[in-house]
Symmetry: C2
Subunit: 360 residues, 2 copies
């Protein structure tokens, strides 16, 4: 897809070459528990098998696979983190089983096909980073026809929320534009240049930054004001890049709270570990990044703010037409469009709304 | 020099395409006053002349040059900011004089040679960003033999300082490594993997981040505890890329304060606008980024922290052997090495110290 490798390293891979960043993922107990249980509660699936870990990072999933009894684990990592993974494998006495390979999974070569592909490829709101593309390439090239994917399924969710983030962002935006007008005056007075022609593009830039860029947040379940809906389901064994290039969904969400404001929407994902038809998992494991009181993840949710915030009440329906595409400038970032229509239980329905967002 | 253009855009140019960032520079009164005065206090140098603005950004220096009487101004800008510059030129009625050209100055073509090159190319500690390379290319290609550079001269300074930043950074570093040890325990207990082999690389990574990366700071003049020294002088009319690739200097600084601690060093720069031999500026203008009570700049100073902090007192001499090179991974970032020797007025002199830093 015409991606420059050097640019991709500069923009994307570089952060993964820091232990600090790998540690953030390794400290996410929800994430860790899910993968740990997916492997060790289904140990018999790994015994004697050949496994490929796509994007092994510190090597954790490869090491677990080996500890669970895999015969051989190929642990592929694009960044220099591979060197730390190799050390870690050795220090845990698994250098006979786990082979760490530095390179992108698209570029490397394996001497055999594998029984299981395990990977932690999920970005914010599932698809940010577009790393699942690489997992698909690996699967089509290296997974045996009877092989299993870990995780095996993924879903994207959307729900109406209330939040104070909007007021905060509006304030930030307004103080930025106020400051701009002070700046215009000064530049005119002291430096004899009239910059007012830049007011519109400046406000657009700031509007995009403060109000159209989705926000990372771990919401409290109380902040959900309507029924969450599924906007995408992925079968990791069969999905194609075509299928995940865009996400289009029309859902309707019922407001569950009395008289409130629709501040915006939260997007999140879950994945499941079910093994495959040929070798189903004994115990199905779920990893969810939904709003939760005690089980927040490093993924949090992505918040899309509305402004102004429509009044809604219990029993109202919000019809959401959602679409997500990759950004033209960077295929690992996303552009999202919401089309909204209210179906009020009582009273007139306002005009439909359209709003565009960026997942940066 | 083998730099990938796409990568350079991703790492470097991208920030300049935001009006928000251009505004930060346009709000730096010290910077603005210096360039404004360099142009308008020396108006006669610009009347009827052909000017090239290397990296015009918002267009401000090109517009001033035109307002001062230039016959023609070529305003070259690598990023899409060029479009805003073009609008601004038009809105200020100068589209007959200022021609905005989008492209890197290395790539563009001009129909004539120029009398004056004006550019604001200075990065942190003068040379970060390595943008002066581009000014040199422009000068060698487009400046008439009798032409003038604005600014015409630049210098780098270094001075011993006291600061509380070191304690802060040590705390950050220590809480990060404490946390690492908690993490090791948990990963061992809950997930059966011994990560202790990564302790050394993790601590090195964090040490580099917290203690070996220079820090942006606007110091108060009281924080200088010794005589500042010049470590580099550049004549913008004659300097070659060779000459600015590395900076090597041996200087000695006398401590001017009673019993204190040498917490580290501050690096900054100044530039001068003197015109050229053929057409000297009527009024020489200085732009300094030295520690100052009221005239801080967006460049601030770069602070290099020592740890531990040697005791020093009035009359002691600090012998500094300074060297700065470009980082191998990114030619716009710098690696710095300090060699230090104390010459105490009284008492024994400690062992020489060597310390490496990164300007990121
Ligand atoms: N195409 C590709 N080929 C190889 N590695 C890739 C890749 N795309 C992403 N990666 C790597 O995949 C990792 C994803 S983060 C997950 C790390 C580790 N598996 C864990 O669960 O803790 C990163 O280290 C990233 O550098
Ligand atoms: N090689 C090159 N060719 C063209 N523009 C360049 C360049 N290297 C840097 N630049 C541009 O130079 C600008 C430096 S910042 C200074 C902007 C403006 N002259 C002002 O004084 O306010 C940035 O906008 C950057 O994009």
């Amino acid at each position: 897809n015409g991606v420059d490798k050097g640019v991709d390293f500069a923009n994307y891979f570089c952060t993964y070459s820091f232990l600090y960043h790998q540690k953030e993922m390794l400290c996410d107990r929800v994430r860790m528990d899910a993968y740990y249980n997916a492997v060790f509660q289904n140990k018999e699936q790994f015994v004697g098998k050949v496994v490929l870990d796509v994007g092994t990072g510190s090597g954790i999933l490869a090491i677990w696979s080996a500890q669970a009894g895999a015969k051989k684990v190929y642990a592929v990592e694009a960044t220099k983190m591979s060197e730390h993974a190799r050390e870690l494998v050795k220090a845990n006495g698994l250098e006979g089983v786990v082979e760490v390979i530095e390179g992108t999974v698209e570029d490397i070569n394996l001497p055999e096909k594998v029984d299981i592909i395990i990977s932690e490829w999920m970005g914010y709101f599932l698809l940010r980073e577009s790393m699942f593309d690489s997992v698909i390439v690996a699967r089509d090239r290296w997974l045996k026809p009877t092989g299993a994917m870990y995780p095996s399924h993924a879903r994207m969710w959307l729900a109406p929320i209330k939040t104070g983030l909007g007021d905060q962002r509006i304030n930030d935006y307004e103080s930025s534009t106020d400051d701009w007008h002070r700046f215009l005056d000064e530049t005119n007075t002291y430096y004899g240049v009239d910059m007012s022609v830049l007011t519109r593009p400046f406000c657009e830039e700031q509007n995009k930054y403060y109000l159209q860029t989705s926000i990372w947040n771990n919401l409290h379940p109380h902040q959900l004001i309507g029924i969450p809906g599924i906007i995408k389901e992925i079968d990791c064994l069969t999905a194609t890049v075509e299928e995940i290039l865009n996400v289009r969904a029309n859902i309707s969400s019922s407001i569950t709270e009395e008289k409130t404001r629709l501040c915006g929407f939260a997007g999140w994902f879950d994945v499941h570990f079910r093994g495959s038809k040929q070798s189903p998992a004994r115990l199905e494991i779920e990893l969810t990044t939904a709003p939760s009181e005690n089980n927040g993840t490093h993924w949090g949710q992505q918040v899309f703010l509305l402004h102004p915030t429509p009044r809604v009440g219990k029993g109202d329906d919000v019809l959401i037409s959602f679409s997500m595409d990759r950004s033209k400038e960077n295929h690992r970032l996303m552009e999202v469009e919401f089309g909204l229509e209210m179906r009020h239980l009582a009273g007139r329905n306002p005009q439909p709304i359209k709003k565009k967002f960026y997942i940066e």
